[in-house]
């Protein structure tokens, strides 16, 4: 077994099992930690694909920022206790959900397998990227040339998210009544 395959096997097993843990763990905190596990596994997979920048950001943004946010909120809302919500749903509901999602998965897998024999449309092989100064440099260049509009738009997304979060989370303000 060569290294990529081994790495793939390990990381993807962790990812899948972790995902299952996320959704089947009774305690939200456990779920959160399982999610961190998944994020790390994904970072590994990205690295396997040579996407180093993405792998790094995966750790920084997801595991570092988003997860902290989650854990923070869990703690804020005192949700670090096991919940038995899964059992609250009916058996039929659960079976139907599982079957449906399985069917969807099958269809989607069938679709992605169609790409096995695909011809690459680009020419940025690993060597080419290396000659451009590495993954990070190549990406950054594109980010500030072709994708500069995306970038600027993202700033408004964040602005919107800030305003939205502030609106939702702030306490009572003028013009508003009622106990918060």
């Amino acid at each position: 077994m060569d290294f990529p395959l081994l790495a793939f096997s390990v990381f993807s097993t962790i990812a899948i099992l972790g995902s299952l843990l996320v959704i089947f763990k009774k305690n939200p905190v456990s779920s959160a930690f399982a999610l961190v596990l998944v994020f790390f596994a994904f970072a590994g997979l990205y690295a396997l694909l040579g996407a180093h920048l993405v792998a790094a950001l995966q750790i920084l943004v997801y595991a570092g920022a988003i997860m902290v946010l989650f854990v923070f909120v869990i703690m804020l809302l005192n949700q670090d206790e096991p919940v038995h919500d899964l059992e609250a749903t009916g058996v039929i509901y659960r079976v139907v959900s599982a079957l449906t999602v399985t069917a969807l998965g099958a269809i989607l897998v069938r679709a992605v397998l169609a790409s096995k024999s695909m011809t690459p449309s680009g020419a940025l092989t690993d060597e080419k990227i290396a000659s451009l100064g590495g993954n990070m440099k190549a990406i950054s260049e594109q980010l500030f040339t072709d994708r500069v509009f995306h970038f600027e738009l993202t700033s408004f997304l964040l602005l919107g998210a800030i305003v939205a979060t502030v609106t939702l989370a702030k306490r009572k303000s003028r013009g508003e009544e009622g106990e918060v």
């Binding site: 993807s12 959704i23 809302l77 609250a88 998210a161």
Partner: protein, 102 residues
Amino acid sequence: MTAFEPWMLLVVSILVFCIGLLGLILRKNLLVMLMSIELMLNAVNLCFVTFSKMHQLLDGHLTVLFVMTVAAAESAVGLGLVIAMFRNLRSVDSDQIQLLRD
């Protein structure tokens, strides 16, 4: 044993996506539901990167950067909504919010 090929990752990503979706459908805890959404977005990210690799392009990587930002923003707003709900209902259970129905 065959060698590693990128399409295998596609299958993994679909699986994770579906697990996320299943979690979203099955779990009643809003926080876990938000995590499930994160799972789904992550799966898509993996998909993008894999396709990028297969196409020998970097577009996928760039896309992932933006998706991460969006995911972060979305989580923030989602958690904000959960907090607002918790203030009113003292619960983060989605079964508590079934007032609006026919």
